[in-house]
Symmetry: C2
Subunit: 262 residues, 2 copies
DNA sequence: AACGATTTGTTCGTATGTATC
DNA sequence: TGATACATACGAACAAATCGT
């Protein structure tokens, strides 16, 4: 026999999917639900808790519990696009990408730090553990109805050798309006030739929960998009981690299959 | 002031990250923790619940609460691979992919149904709503230490026109050992020329929770990988949805950026 | 196979804190 | 300020899963 709170959760779920409870609508109070289901308020809370975990409901302190809208997802395109050559670059590429989806974007002024590479960073960039890195961190926002919605957090790591060879603007906490890819090509002749992406999810950390305004229970995961860009020599020249709230985003990849002989 | 259960959760978290509580280890019982933290058992349970949501702990009925191992992720490669031309195909491609990672795989006998296309299916396949579809569903397993671990659920949709034109094995509930891609090419001369992938996450449904043996609270999401394959004419010929538990998998995409003139 | 001990799971009642209007 | 709603916390009891005897 299923638990009482499971039954209640199933019933509420049914009322939501049938349209009897519509997105945005407020549920009866926990007390009322307890009466209606002939259960204690705690049991009703357990049922609601389950549905909050499934992102069907949202409780607001002092206000009530509300049916959530099915989230509209923003598409993050990973396909190497001919036009801009962007696809997961730094600030500039991001703004271009958003503009393609008829939305407007803003990026924060980058923060810059010099750090020693830890094991995964060193492995991905093909350098030694403890070697110096330029770390550039940026917050990305999408402007919706005049308000900036926090959308992603991007941290890029560059070998310090690039700065030594002349790309000094990398270590200045300023935007690089033409994009870092173009900047590296102009100053050092380094052309981005290929990349390797990894995408996974994990629970958000405290910083991400605050920045994205996510539920603190950790029920909504974040996407982590890792990109390692290599130049024409096959040398890794950039390692980027971008974090997105997983309930508002999706990834899109378009590709042609290689033609075969025969 | 933070809630008591938050403090307890933070303390347990600290003990885990410091290594005082190691992966696999059992925590003290809820009663003991309640004594130690001078809190009620329910408050301790709230703290544990939070850490279960973050997939740091796991409770087993009748046994205790255990520290989880950081999950090792299986890589799903989406890059169009020259050799097999696989990358997200049906059964055959899956087994090849797993073999590349030194693991062995098994697929269930496909179940087949004929259904009417709903709106999203029709849109992706470029056919009309209500048009007939061949639906092939397969369960995928990875063999680890002699036991089959449920790994993914794949459902592919094909326009019924393909069957009418001669690809009759599509609607038989049998494996197609050479792969459906090769079969379609041999029988109809249809060659897969490109694809469009979408990747997102959502909470698991009841079937997925059972099949993958996931925690029923819905704290662990599933990846959904959608692939629409087009032939050399640009016509969609397959629409595939694959579901993976998100805590055991990651996606990998490798690509060369298109060369530019200049 | 049956039973008891242990541990988490479920449910209740109650009280108080705190955000919102 | 008061009323309303969810959030936190406690104590208690029984249910159900697991394991060893």
């Amino acid at each position: 026999m299923p638990a009482r709170y499971e039954e209640i959760a199933a019933d509420l779920r049914e009322r939501i999917s049938s349209g009897e409870l519509r997105p945005g609508q407020r549920l009866p109070t926990e007390r009322e639900l307890a009466l209606r289901y002939d259960a204690s308020r705690n049991t009703v809370r357990d049922a609601v808790l389950r549905l909050r975990g499934l992102r069907l409901l949202e409780s607001r302190h002092g206000l009530g519990t509300f049916v959530l809208e099915p989230p509209v997802k923003f598409a993050i395109t990973l396909t190497p696009s001919e036009g801009t050559g962007s696809g997961g670059g730094e600030g500039r590429a991001w703004v271009d990408e958003v503009a393609r989806q008829q939305r407007s974007a803003r990026t924060s002024v980058p923060s810059v730090a010099i750090e020693q590479a830890d094991e995964p960073q060193a492995r991905e960039l093909g350098i030694g553990v403890g070697d110096m890195l330029v770390v550039r961190h940026q917050q990305h926002f999408i402007t919706d109805k005049g308000v900036d919605v926090p959308w992603s957090l991007r941290t890029s790591f560059y070998p310090i050798a690039l700065v030594d060879r002349g790309a000094t603007r990398l270590q200045r906490p300023e935007d690089i309006p033409e994009g870092t890819a173009a900047y590296l090509e102009q100053t050092l002749g380094i052309r981005q030739a290929g990349y390797r992406d990894r995408i996974w999810v994990r629970p958000p950390n405290d910083y991400e929960i605050r920045f994205f305004d996510m539920p603190p229970e950790g029920t909504v995961p974040v996407f982590v998009h890792q990109r390692v860009v290599t130049d024409t020599e096959g040398e890794p020249c950039r390692y980027t981690l971008t974090v997105y709230p997983a309930d508002r985003n999706e990834f899109v990849i378009e590709a042609d299959l290689p033609a075969r002989d025969g």
